[in-house]
Structures are given as C-alpha cells and as structure tokens.
Amino acid sequence: MPYSALILDDDADFNSLLTDIFEQADYIVTSMTNPLEAVDVFSETIYDIVVTDHKMPEMTGSEFMKKVKEMRPEVPVIMVSGYLENDTIRELIRDGVGGVFLKPLNIFSLLERTAELIEEAKKLETAPAGDAGGTALEKEVDAKLGFSFRAFPCKTNASTDFAERLHSLRNFRSTLSLIGEKGMHYRAICEDISRFSEGSSERFIYLSPGSFDEKQTASLIEEAKKKSAERVTCVLLEIESMSEGQKMLAVALAKGDGVFTEVEIPLRVIFCVSGDLDALFDEGLINENLYILMGTAEVRVPPLRECALDISVMAQQLVVEMAREKGLAVVPRFEKSARELFRKQQWKGNYAELRESVRKIMDAASGEVLAYPLVKAALQVNEGVSQRARLESFLSSQQTDIVRAAAIIFGGERGRVARFFGTDVSEISAKLQ
C-alpha cells in the first residue's frame, strides 16, 4: 500500500517540485502552502510522513513540527530549507526532527531517509513485548549485528548505526572518543568495546576524575601487565570534569609520553565526553591538545530520544538487573501501555534518568506486572509540584554547570565567583573539581 505524505512549503514552485518527487516515488501526497491550514488537515488525516519547509510567514517549520508532534508524536517529520543555522538544526534534532535537508536537494537521500523513517515508525507500532529475561533479546541483537552488543538493544537506526560504527573502529590504534549528552552509559558502551576483542589478552582500565592520577594509572597498567595483558585500553570517563593536570596527563597517556614512555605494551585511550565538544573547547574545559586528539576517531553516542524503540527494552533490562539485586524470584514486566510511556518522554538526562525512573518504579512495585499507573506516576513525578520547587530542583541539578559558567564569566577567579554566590572559595573549588 502506498504511503501518505503531507508536504508543506509556502514556495509554490518548490512545493510542486517536492510533490512531484514524492508522487513519482509512489506516495499519496497532500500538498499545502499555508501552515495553519496544514495543522487543520493534519489533525483530521492519518499521514505516514510530514515534509515541511522551515521559513514560512505564519509559522516556522519548527513550530509546525511541534504541533504535529503534539498530535501524533510517532509521525516522522523531515525539514527542508534553503539555509539553517547550526543552532536551529540542533534545536530541531532535539525536538525530534527525523531529517534536515538543505537546498539544493539530494533527492535520493531525501527519499531514502523518508523510507527509513517510515519503516522505523512502523516497527514502533508493531514492536513486541520486551523479553523479561533478556537472553532472547541479546541473541536477537547479536544475530542482527553479527557481533555482541549490550549497551543498546539496537531496535532503531540510530543505535544500530552507533553499534556498527563502534565495531568498525574496534581496532583503533591509540585514541577513540565517545561524545554524547549527559547521563549516557559510557561505561557499559566501553564494556561492549572490550567484548569486541574478547579472547585477546587486552585489559580495560576505567578512570574517572576521582581516580585518575599518574601513580594510580601506572599501578593499574602494571597490574594488567602482571596479568599477562598484551595491550591496555584506558577509559577516561567525564574528561570534561577533570582538572587541568589530569587533562595534561590524559594527553601524555594517549601519546605515551612522560611516565608512560616506560610502559612496554601498547596503550590505547577512550575519551568519554558529555556535552558539545566545540562548546567545551570554547569554554576552556577541553584544551587544544585534547580537542585535536579527540578528532582522530570520534563517535557520537545517540541520546535516548533518538532511540525511541530501544527505551522500553532498556528499561526492562534495568528491571532484570534490579530484580536480581533485590533477589526477586520473578522478574516483573512492563505492560504494553506502560512501555508506550517510555517512548513519549524526552529523557534529557538520558540513561541516568532512565535508571533513576526504573528504580522508582521498582521501589514502588509490588507484583509481577509493572502497570501503566505505576509507571506514569514515576515518570511524571514532578507533576503538581509548585513552580518554585521545580525551579529549585532544576537549579540544584545544574549547580556544577552554573558554577562553571560563572567561573568562565569571571575569568577563572574563584574568589570573585565565591563572592558572587555568597559562599567561600573552598566550596567553589570543590564544585569546579
């Protein structure tokens, strides 16, 4: 059966061109030039895909997409525009756009992406229940990918592409960078990387701001050598939060300089960064050396909102893990309507937020079925809370970022930052560490 597409562009010529393209590709097209009318039409008709211009007189494409997503979040939206600022593109991605195409159009890429998005949305409609035990799912993922991968269930293109890219880079020579948003499960991802070379005598060492120093690292490498490791991969977590000294040490480690020149076995480094690397570089949180080093083999970790189909499965995997911790005889399962709720969340805090939510659900659960009201209550825990309480909660969760921002504004003078916040320097220093 042909798919249906709603095309919105106030430029009649371009609208006609897009309509021709989609009709030639066997889509049933509704062509609109006025966004307000398009909202009405969309509310009354079922479409498989929406293709919209961004700059239009009555409403921007971004605003139109928000209306579409409010009505039917599962319908994919593609944005086509003459020019878009990078910030606008980032914003569109955050709001759930399926693809952004700049004019002149690459028709083949546009149609290819459209087909992918529709296929993904159809899969979402027919997604089966998660496997409570997890092993069947793991086998399915392994069979699909051709290698073992646990960090994502790979039910979406974003997570599948990510897993495949990581696997293709598994033999990276000295550095690999994982760059994603806050709250991603970098450690689990690196455990997958370590499994790619299972059977080889390689050791992975995990280092974070609290544990990364010259002595500790050298001792862990030495210990790995004693255990007959032929290669050591050091995973540096939260590198953006490390001190200047630690960042210099990270560069030395990656280059095999300083104390690491004496290490006789090959060393590799995986940098895990939360945030926009360019923004971190501008803020001085990533130095020049690291910035360039991280560009050698760089992989973007997809945020959860780009992996809608994966989220409920990941939640079920967390349930398995927590049921084991609690020593439950039977692993509870989410009912279907409850699983839908996971897909509707924005998950700005990504995996960390998901874990926290599942923990709340598990703490409140009493039976074998994790029902809709229980999940809804856990996911919308802030509903009904006063605006002041929400603001306080937000500020509290962003405390470190706010102090960092102030430190940048005051040129790194901690005394001035402390005076600004009405606190003492030691507290500011602790936050900046």
Binding site: L169, R173, E288, G295, T296, A297
Partner: protein, 172 residues
C-alpha cells in the same frame, strides 16, 4: 594569525574527521597528521598548521586528485583554477588575508551581493560557516587545489604590498 587560532584548530579538526568519514584517509593517517599539526600549532607556526597540507605533502596519505574528484562527484562542487583568475585586492571585501591563509579560502569575485569563494576546506563545516557569516551575503563555493590556492594567496599578498607602497608614496 594568532587571533584565528581557534578557527584553525576547529577547521582542521573537522577536515580530518570529514576525510576519514568519506574514506579518503584512514584513522592512522589522521593520527600521524594530527601529531604534526599540533607540533606546528605549539610552535605557533600557524601558516604551516594545516592537516590537509600535511596529508598531501608530508605524510602523502591523501591524493589531491582523489579529493578533488570527490568534491565534484559527491559534494557537487565546481572547481576553479585561481591561476586563471584576475585576482584583485581583498581590502574592498573587508577580508583579512591572514584569515585566508588560515582557512585556505579566498573570496575572489563578487557580483552584486553574491561572493565567489574558492577553498581547499569545503569539507570543513566551521570554515564554510565562518565565511558565510563573515561575508554576510550569498556565497557560491568553488573547490581548488592547494597549489592554486597558495599561489593565489601569494599574488594577493603582492597586490596588497603594492597598494601599501603606493599609499606610502602618496603620503610623501
């Protein structure tokens, strides 16, 4: 050129990743080029700090012909040989020549509000973004070879020198 240090770092980092993504070089090639690039940056030899030139002429990991073919066939970019262009002073465009050196980019002509810009860094998004914002008008991009770019930049330097000398003469 020090004021363009961040742009140089960013544009070179992006072009390196873009060349790997497009399969024109390997990550090992990029790693070696990055080391040489950082040596030049740390020695503040910013004119020499180019991952593209390093890959083409020092490590010889990249074939310029293959790169130009890729730009034409995959990126739909037109090419221009600046040796055949009647270059003029960039001062009317309010363009700093050191910026052209830093980004291997020259706005070589302007018709009404549209600039014709040649670059060796078309694959580097920060370069494209920077110039499009800087010129504040429409831009038609052209690819060019590094030798054509270097010669063109030298010719423009000569034009600027001649302008400076003429201005000094006038003052006398």
């Amino acid at each position: 050129m020090q004021e363009h240090r961040a742009l140089i770092l960013r544009s070179n980092r992006f072009i390196g990743s873009a060349l790997v993504d497009r399969g024109l070089i390997s990550t090992d090639d990029l790693e070696s080029a990055n080391e040489k690039f950082m040596e030049a940056i740390q020695a503040s030899e910013l004119k020499r700090a180019s991952i593209l030139s390093t890959l083409l002429f020092e490590t010889k990991a990249l074939d310029e012909q293959a790169l130009l073919e890729h730009l034409v066939e995959e990126e739909m970019l037109g090419l221009v040989d600046l040796n055949h262009i009647d270059l003029r002073s960039l001062r009317p465009f309010n363009v700093d020549l050191s910026l052209c050196w830093a980004t291997s980019t020259i706005p070589f002509d302007k018709a009404e509000e549209t600039y014709m810009v040649a670059t060796c860094y078309k694959l580097s998004a920060p370069v494209i973004k920077y110039w499009e914002e800087h010129l504040g008008g429409r831009v038609i991009w052209f690819g060019t070879s590094t030798s054509s770019m270097t010669r063109a930049l030298e010719r423009i330097e000569e034009i600027h020198d001649a302008e400076d000398e003429a201005a000094a003469e006038d003052e006398k």
